[in-house]
Amino acid sequence: MTGPDRYAVAADVAWIDAEHVGEARAEVYVARLPDGEPLLLRDGAWAIWHGVAQGGTVDDIVGHAADLSGAERDVIADDVARFVESLVARGLVVPTPSA
């Protein structure tokens, strides 16, 4: 029996948070290497990205994003799941099937 898929940032992706240079903005810049365009993820998208960067199931990511954004888990769960799938479609995030 296998558990729910886990997600992680793809190995060919670079990303940097505005906090890295002391900017107090909820922003992260992401690029798929070597030819992807830079993407700016802010606010809710920023919180979800950090959830993915921690690694885990969609449930884990929802929990992390809720903690960062202060939103209710139940309210954002479906939206987070859809956004994670869109990141997978872009090749920025990969599912890592759990054993």
């Binding site: 940097i16 240079v21 690029a31 070597p34 993407l39 700016l40 809710g44 979800i48 872009r90």
Partner: protein, 303 residues
Amino acid sequence: MHEEPVTDPPRGQVSSPDVDIPTFARVQLAHPVVQRIAEEAGVSLLHLKGPALLAGLRAPGRLSSDVDVLVQPDQFTTMEGALHDHGWERYSHVSSGSAFEHAANWWHPHWGYADLHARWPGATASPADTFSALSEESFLQPIAHYACPVPGRTAQLLVLLLHSARSPGYRDVELTWNEQSPQQRAAVIDLAGRIGGQVALAAALGHLEEHRGDPSYALWHFYRDGGGRLDEWRARYRAAPSPSGRWRVVVSAARVNRDHLRIELGRTPTRSDVLTAQLGRIGKLVRESARMARAHLRKRPAP
């Protein structure tokens, strides 16, 4: 090119900010971009300065504006071809970039400028020996969460010191030398000796006068104290290591640098542009020669 938001919930929270991406983010992401291109092309390189530095060696408040990498010399052409294949444009060639003929300047619409170094100015050992020595203690450092090879601590310090020797106004020896332990300084001196960088290191540390007899003395003196274009060309001529090198300096002094002209004009120069610039360059050299001759005569004692 801007994209639509990816999905409903983060509407307006996802964008493709290729126009206004802040410098810190652009440079941080550009290092992994260049690294990935190198990996796919099988090229070895070292990331230098800026985000590639160990945390304690970054001058507070100083942000890089471009990427610097030192390429394994045998693979330089391969790396240039790979950058070209990934949409990068060459802005200047190695031979036209600087007095040291050390780097080609590349540009990408998303990632800005990258200096591709064939050698590091100040090192007089062969580029292959220099790359090898600077690579000895290299390690992988995450830049924007992507592993990039960087020189070890001693090589990082030496690279910064040699850079400061040719950067008027940026003599950051406090961090890179004065605050270092005696053992660390000895290691830097030893590495400088192995890559033939003693004179440049002396210039960085304020001991250049100990090397007055060295062919490169005038060049480092020029970088330390400044001077006219003619002073620079004379210093370059003296520092050239071979007759063919000296001949290249003479030809370069007289010839318009098409790479620089293209940057200046913001377009590919026409034959007329080149001719006009060429005449201006020769006129400038003649005027400067005359100025130097007058200054020389004024210095001569009256009969």
